[in-house]
């Protein structure tokens, strides 16, 4: 299990950037898959939808429902595209790790879910927090925005600061933990299957069960991430908080 990552470090003089090539590869694959699904589904758009267009519209309405349950559509409409992209990106990313999880070349793990990498999930979570802060200041004014840190009592200020970081951390780590744990267990089961004939027979049922469960988890986590994103956004941009 304890495999290395194919890392590449770019030296840029004053500082250096380290890329995990596996993560980058999987991110690109995820993006391409999501783009292809969405692109192919939205060819031949018709007023009377058929086939894939129905599916896409269902996703749009689903995300619209998530946003509407948190804020009014006039405020939340601008986050619609962010929400759809997030939910599809994360769902596809979560599922990508399932089929070939554990492709190892030269003792380096190449194929995995990009969301099984805490850097990726925490980056997405931070992006959400930054967006929430940005829109909070832009739509409420900086005075009101910073005022909310002292509401309802001024001694709540430290807690409010902690809350900001706690939200970001939990948002990212929840996703990472679920997917990473799933992949570790899948990897262990795969190792068991590869150990002997008895191991292979014994591993079939648990592997199938865990893969099914991981598919479920993958969708659920994508939904939760999007839902919490909208909750945090509405918390910042809505006037009545």
């Amino acid at each position: 299990m304890n495999h290395g990552s194919p890392e590449l470090t770019l030296d840029l003089g004053a500082f250096s950037l380290t890329f995990n090539l596996s993560t980058v590869l999987m991110l690109v694959i995820t993006a391409v898959v999501v783009f292809l699904i969405a692109f192919i589904a939205t060819r031949n758009l018709k007023l009377k939808p058929t086939g894939m267009q129905n599916f896409m519209e269902w996703i749009m309405d689903f995300v619209k429902g998530i946003i509407k349950s948190n804020m009014d559509w006039k405020t939340g409409g601008r986050f619609h595209i962010l929400g759809i992209t997030l939910i599809m990106f994360i769902a596809v990313a979560n599922l990508l790790g399932l089929p070939f999880s554990g492709i190892i070349i030269n003792d380096q793990l190449w194929w995995k879910s990009p969301t099984a990498d805490p850097t990726v999930t925490l980056t997405l979570a931070s992006m959400v927090t930054v967006l929430a802060t940005f829109y909070g200041i832009r739509m409420q004014g900086s005075k009101h925005y910073f005022g909310t840190f002292f509401q309802p009592m001024s001694f709540m200020f430290p807690l409010k600061i902690i809350e900001e970081f706690a939200n970001t951390l939990t948002l990212g780590l929840r996703l990472y933990g679920n997917i990473y744990a799933g992949e570790i267990l899948l990897g262990l089961l795969a190792g068991l299957a590869g150990s002997s004939v008895f191991g292979f027979v014994g591993a079939i049922i648990p592997t199938m069960a865990w893969q099914g469960f991981s598919i479920f988890i993958g969708f659920i986590q994508a939904f939760i991430f999007t839902m919490l994103t909208m909750v945090y956004l509405s918390h910042k941009v809505s006037a009545d908080h």
Partner: protein
């Protein structure tokens, strides 16, 4: 058993490149999707919403229009019915009047005919009586002159004639 790999950040270094890669890839994906997928799809959904709204409005208008026309037709039908009734009634009245007129005219005509017949009969009767009288007078005179063959005084003659006439009148 080494569990170090389960510890977050156990790699010991921060993958700044991954952060940038994640952000860049996600934002590019979002931009591309907005341009090629979500934008057109949202436009289509918007269009459909407008279509549905306009269709509903059109249906509502059509419903109102048909209700109005129906009301109109109803009132027209009612009017026509009343008119028909009036026409029938007036025709009936007209017929009655005409019948009365015809009957009256016929009665008058009959009366006239009867009267004229009566008058004619009267006239004929007068005429016949006069003729009979004249005949009777001449016959009487003839008979008297033949029977008596004698001179009769003017008074006797006249009285006799009158008596005979009266007798003739009674005998008749």
């Amino acid at each position: 058993m080494n569990l170090d790999y389960l510890v977050l950040g156990s790699g010991g270094h921060f993958n700044g490149g991954d952060v940038i890669a994640t952000l860049v890839i996600f934002l590019i994906l979002m931009f591309l999707l907005k341009k090629f997928a979500w934008g057109p799809l949202m436009g289509m959904m918007q269009q459909r919403e407008e279509l549905v709204a306009s269709e509903i409005e059109a249906a509502e208008n059509a419903r109102k229009e048909s209700a109005k026309v129906l009301e109109e037709q109803k009132s027209l039908l009612k009017e026509a019915r009343t008119e028909a009734q009036t026409i029938v009634e007036s025709a009936k009245k007209q017929g009655e009047i005409q019948r009365d007129e015809i009957i009256t005219a016929a009665r008058a005509e009959a009366n006239r005919l009867k009267e004229s017949a009566v008058r004619e009969i009267e006239t004929e009767k007068e005429k016949a009586i006069a003729a009979v009288r004249a005949e009777v007078v001449s016959l009487s005179v003839l008979a008297a002159s033949k029977v008596l063959e004698k001179e009769i005084s003017e008074e006797d003659n006249s009285a006799l004639i009158k008596e005979t006439i009266a007798k003739a009148g009674e005998a008749k």
